[in-house]
Symmetry: C2
């Protein structure tokens, strides 16, 4: 269980305020794209991510490690060390474990242990398809951020199906806001590639945090996303950028280049809020 | 990549035929429930599962390790060894990695690597909520079994929503049968707790394999499931039992007790087919 101060929502509000930033840096290390000089080390993925964390920690409201990129490399131990590093050196920055878990009963309990006990995450991303009882074991020990409208083209296959006059993703948003939020700390995922729909979700979910992937490499515009989805206080969004920050440069200046891209994305969010 | 002979469907057909069984044993090791004598070993989970595998390999059409139970214990290496053991000693029995993965683009590729390269699975369970393009990276290197109508009570929250006059789960079944099955080897998950709906899914998906969890500890009846969902040749189902087999006894006779429960469940499926 996470022993740092406060629940996920409280920690996120403080990070938004302290760093005056909606930016989340996604930690999706690709061994084929590591910068020169790091690519030979046995713990290269850990070392690369730590450099990115150190270069951006004052610019973000959260870090979001993506577990598949570690699992494919048999590098769960490096993910553990990375989460420990963030918790120790940047205790005020929430960790969102991007795992998109979804299962039932005793198996959901095991996934919750994985996210909250093993990795010390503040929140874990989950898939809503299995329904409310699949989420409860997670909410017993941490926060969930549930997929609502994802950033990929195929997301329309299910998420845009018409359910009683509204698209499924909006029904999911309503279920999360009206029911799941009474059971624990929740948020939602809405891709930056759908700014209009982000606005519709915001109308439905009140002040709940919305994680917004899809800016940068996936083509979504950070400014448009913030204009459409921020709360009236200018916060409420966790705007994620992964590859555009991580691989801003493949040379020895990769950390500085990552910082520059992170600053530009953070500022794009700020400018939009002001306007 | 799996190098054993044939694709998932072919290997499954052969296992149905050779063992004359629709039973799948789910490998969900719970460290609190390991039998006396095994519970102290550092690789207790691996050793327990191997004993179950050896006691039931001639009775099953597939083994289904559930990854969360290993991940929560930091025991991915024991899951690797377990899959290697099955592949080496029972090369004709397909391995279904129960992971319920679902993500997009490069991340889905990493999950596919995890399932098919790292663990050598023949098939992996996936969640359909993200749509067709989230499944394609998996189908490029193995088979998927997609959630359709799950066995838990809360599954109705989304899966029973009305979409143009039919429940969402049936729309998902149609999408899998009409579209995903043209892209690679697919199957579906329908819980034994919904035998009527299993029958409706069978009408929609033709001969595709259906994984049926929920018998035993969850209360579903194996015979009813087979009567409702088997193909006209009496095959087509993968009827999973996990806890009822694994924990049939907590004493030193646990492997024999597991075998007895497995035989009874296999026979319940056979009797139903005959009737």
């Amino acid at each position: 269980m996470n022993e740092r101060a406060g629940g996920f929502h409280q920690r996120l509000e403080r990070a938004w305020e302290r760093n005056d930033s909606l930016l989340c840096v996604g930690l999706d290390p690709d061994p084929r794209r590591l910068p020169t000089g790091l690519d030979g080390a046995t713990d290269a993925v850990f070392r690369f991510c730590v450099e990115i964390v150190e270069a951006t920690a004052d610019l973000v409201c959260a870090f979001k490690p993506q577990i598949a990129h570690f699992a494919a490399l048999r590098a769960e131990n490096q993910l553990e060390r990375l989460c420990e590093h963030i918790a120790e050196h940047h205790p005020d920055i929430p960790i969102i474990l991007d795992a998109k878990r979804g299962d039932i009963g005793s198996t959901a309990e095991q996934y919750a242990k994985e996210a909250f006990n093993r990795y010390g995450a503040d929140a874990v991303t989950v898939n809503p398809y299995l329904g409310t009882d699949s989420i409860e074991p997670f909410l017993a020990s941490g926060a969930v951020i549930a997929l609502c409208r994802t950033s990929n083209p195929g997301s329309a296959d299910l998420q845009m199906l018409d359910v009683d006059g509204e698209p499924l993703y909006l029904r999911v948003a309503r279920m999360i806001a009206e029911r799941w939020s009474t059971l624990g700390e929740v948020g939602l995922v809405v891709g930056a590639t759908h700014p209009d729909e982000l606005g519709r979700v915001r109308e439905v979910v009140g002040d709940l945090p919305i994680l917004v992937p899809g800016v940068g490499a996936q083509g979504g515009d950070a400014g448009e996303a913030v204009a459409a989805g921020a709360r009236t206080d200018g916060r409420g969004l966790i705007v994620n950028s992964s590859r555009a920050v991580l691989y801003a440069s493949s040379g020895p200046d990769f950390a500085e280049a990552a910082r520059e891209t992170a600053i530009a994305t953070r500022d794009a969010c700020r400018l939009s809020r002001a306007g």
